[in-house]
């Protein structure tokens, strides 16, 4: 059994905490411990209370405290639960994202906002089943935003995020384990590069973390029908310049772009990608699938009707190719 995403991330943080004796983690109730096979990670027992600190239900502190620490050169990670994604939004916006610029380069926030994301889960309802919120962070100047889909990417991106001099929002969706094995040693995945998951020639499909499993299924199904889809996982939303290069190259080849999103439709992550493609590749045919502009209902009957799944992706791809 390969390492799952949670273990991979903690392993990445553990390595960095060993490497940097100041690196500190604030969290609320998501204990920083995990087991994989016979290996156990427990950051609280390994690094002690001061460097692995559980906090009150106070995301303003978890994130603002980490910002204050990082301002004096103590790099830190703020881990917040999924229903609180936007409690620190103002802090990230007016401070983490702006102060380096406002101080002419003096203020630095070597911090990571490690945001648990929920995704569209049944029996939870709106407040506990949201997705796609990362685009609100990605629109803020001065922030980097990563959204890994595999344990391998997650560990590598977490380490890159920690080593980065700028504030990074690291979004962790609950994801099925997939992709390459995760090495025990530290390694980095560069911030700013997309991954081509499947190569193809007929249509470009773009989607990330919560949608990757559905897209992968659709790509396989399309193949059976003789359609060759290129599936690109952007892996991050800011900065987007490097990420767009393979997407634009792909669309130049296929002439068609289908995006698929668990987030809501309007102003979503893929809107920006489509807008950039439309500017760069005139004549492109585009189609965007997304959750409606509604909260997620708790009853699975309603929820499933609204979610994008493999069948819907497959059907949309075929329509885009046909008409």
């Amino acid at each position: 059994m390969p390492k799952n995403m949670s273990f991979a991330i903690l392993e990445g943080i553990q390595g960095e905490m060993r490497r940097d004796k100041f690196l500190t983690l604030f969290f609320e109730y998501q204990r920083p411990s995990a087991r994989w096979g016979d290996r156990t990670i427990n950051l609280e027992t390994e690094f002690g209370r001061w460097r692995a600190r559980f906090c009150a239900i106070d995301e303003q502190w978890i994130v603002g405290g980490v910002m204050g620490m990082s301002m004096i050169g103590v790099p830190a990670i703020a881990h917040i639960p999924s229903m609180t994604t936007f409690i620190p939004y103002e802090l990230m916006f007016n401070h983490a994202g702006k102060l380096r610029h406002m101080t002419g380069g003096q203020a630095a926030f070597p911090m990571v906002l490690w945001a648990d994301m929920q995704g569209r889960q049944a029996f939870q309802a709106g407040q506990h089943a949201d997705a796609g919120l990362e685009s609100s962070y990605a629109r803020l100047a001065g922030l980097k935003v990563v959204v890994p889909s595999t344990p391998y990417d997650a560990k590598g991106l977490m380490i890159s995020a920690i080593r980065d001099f700028d504030p990074v929002v690291f979004c962790q969706y609950p994801m099925p384990t997939s992709g390459p094995e995760v090495p025990d040693k530290p390694y980095t995945v560069a911030i700013g590069e997309a991954a081509i998951r499947t190569e193809g020639t007929d249509i470009t499909i773009v989607g990330y973390a919560p949608q990757t499993a559905e897209i992968a299924k659709a790509v396989t199904a399309l193949k059976k029908d003789g359609i060759s889809a290129e599936f690109i996982d952007p892996r991050m939303l800011a900065p987007l310049d490097g990420v767009m290069q393979p997407i634009i190259k792909s669309v130049r080849k296929t002439g068609r772009l289908l995006t698929s999103d668990d987030g809501s439709y309007s102003f979503c992550n893929c809107a920006e990608i489509i807008a950039r493609v439309a500017e760069a590749v005139p004549g492109v045919k585009v189609k965007r699938l997304a959750f409606p502009d509604a909260p997620a209902p708790g009853a699975p009957e309603m929820l499933n009707f609204m979610r994008v799944d493999a069948a819907k992706i497959e059907a949309a791809a075929k329509r885009l190719i046909k008409g």
Binding site: D58, T84, G126, F291, P297, G298, A299, R307, A316
Partner: protein, 402 residues
């Protein structure tokens, strides 16, 4: 007639009814009352008090004096309702295939019932994630609640919201809410609205020990203090925030102490003593109703189950054992202080109830709970396309998945 006008009409009709009901209750209260209630409460009611603002009643809940047997029985019944309804949910979850989730309230019944018994039907409550008890105490319908937490179309929220979001605006229940602390802010806002409307309603918020930090509590407390809003903040200190002990993240042993910083009266009460809670709540409610401003009430209590779900629990038995973050002995200690047995014993010794009468109430409640479960089970699930409704007051949002 638009929605807002309807709301207003409803609320003025409600006020009418309440006034009549109030007059009736007052009459009863003078007819049959229990004498020694306040003496009994004396030893247990106020554990410790915030030193900054002396209140008149140093000991005991004088308002429990004069409580009619009928109301005492109703309070007992409500506590049993909460216990039985939640135990049913627990059993259903343990059985498997349950269409929902739950944060069980069992063990804290005295808080919900003590507070809500001090309220009128037209008073408002704002609740949190652990709110089934608050709702039942405020008059919530067991059937509609069960249908809701199993996400059926007949539920309170038509299956959209589930356990964490049950709401009944007609009962003044502004809703459970999944975001810790939000209840306080909304209740304080409602209290401001009451001032604008010029009624003598009050607004109560329930929150855990975890709800006094974060963004919302401070805004509620400061505003309620500055303008003497009819707001009562109830803090159910059950020692834990999931598995984090309150004492590890707060420097003061009494959370009600936070009140003093805002210029609010803070009270600490034994949250397993329903009459003690009632007494403190009643004082706070009367003060708020008559323009005297807010109160913060900390109720020391304990939850018998895990934060969420049924880990460590078993069918047909109370409590969740073997949880890593607390000792079984601590739980047993609190179970020995069971607010329901304690109140039952008191009612029997006071001859408000006989043992047989208490058993009968329990059996009746159990029957009602079974009926609720049968009702919920039989209800249809929501129609898929209805997920697009109720985003706005009118119309459906477009579907973008095709």
């Amino acid at each position: 007639m638009n929605e807002r006008t309807i709301n207003r009409e409803v609320s003025s009709i409600r006020e009418d009814i309440t006034a009549k009901r109030k007059a009736a209750t007052a009459a009863v209260s003078r007819r049959t009352f229990v004498k020694r209630v306040s003496a009994i409460g004396a030893g247990t009611a106020v554990l410790s008090r915030v030193p900054t603002r002396p209140t008149k009643a140093q000991y005991g809940p004088p308002h429990a004096d004069g409580l009619p047997a009928q109301q005492l029985t109703a309070m007992f019944t409500d506590m049993v309702k909460i216990r039985q309804w939640e135990s049913k949910i627990k059993d259903l979850i343990l059985k498997g295939g349950f269409r929902g989730v739950a944060h069980l309230y069992v063990g804290q019944e005295a808080v919900a019932v003590g507070v809500c018994s001090a309220l009128r039907k037209d008073d408002y409550i704002a609740s949190n994630h652990r709110g089934h008890g608050h709702l039942i105490a405020k008059g919530g319908d067991l059937k509609l609640m069960l249908a809701e937490i199993t996400h059926k179309a007949a539920g309170y929220c038509k299956g959209y919201g589930g356990s964490l979001h049950i709401t009944d605006v007609n009962l003044g229940i502004l809703g459970m809410n999944g975001i810790v602390g939000a209840s306080h802010l909304f209740a304080a806002g409602a209290a401001y609205g009451i001032k604008v409307k010029g009624t003598d309603q009050v607004a109560v918020s329930f929150g855990g020990d975890g709800s006094i930090q974060g963004n919302f509590f401070s805004s509620a407390a400061n505003s309620a203090a500055a303008w003497k809003l009819p707001w009562i903040g109830v803090i159910e200190n059950n020692a834990f925030q999931i598995w984090v002990r309150a004492s590890d993240v707060y420097a003061t042993p009494d959370l009600a102490q936070r009140a003093a910083g805002y210029g609010i009266e803070g009270r600490v009460v034994d949250g397993n003593d329903v009459l003690a809670v009632y007494g403190v709540a009643k004082q706070a409610v009367e003060k708020a109703r008559s323009g005297g401003g807010p109160t913060l009430i900390e109720c020391k209590t304990y939850r018998w189950y895990d934060h969420y779900g049924v880990a460590g629990a078993r069918t047909g038995g109370d409590g969740a054992f073997g949880l890593g973050y607390r000792s079984d002995r601590e739980l047993r200690d609190w179970m020995a202080k069971d607010p329901i047995s304690r109140f039952r014993k008191f009612l029997v010794s006071e001859k408000v109830l006989t043992e047989a009468g208490a058993d009968e109430i329990t059996a009746e409640v159990r029957k009602a709970v079974e009926e609720a479960a049968t009702f919920a089970e039989a209800q249809p699930v929501p129609k898929p396309e209805d997920g697009l409704l109720h985003v706005f007051a009118q119309g459906a949002v477009p579907l973008h998945t095709a």
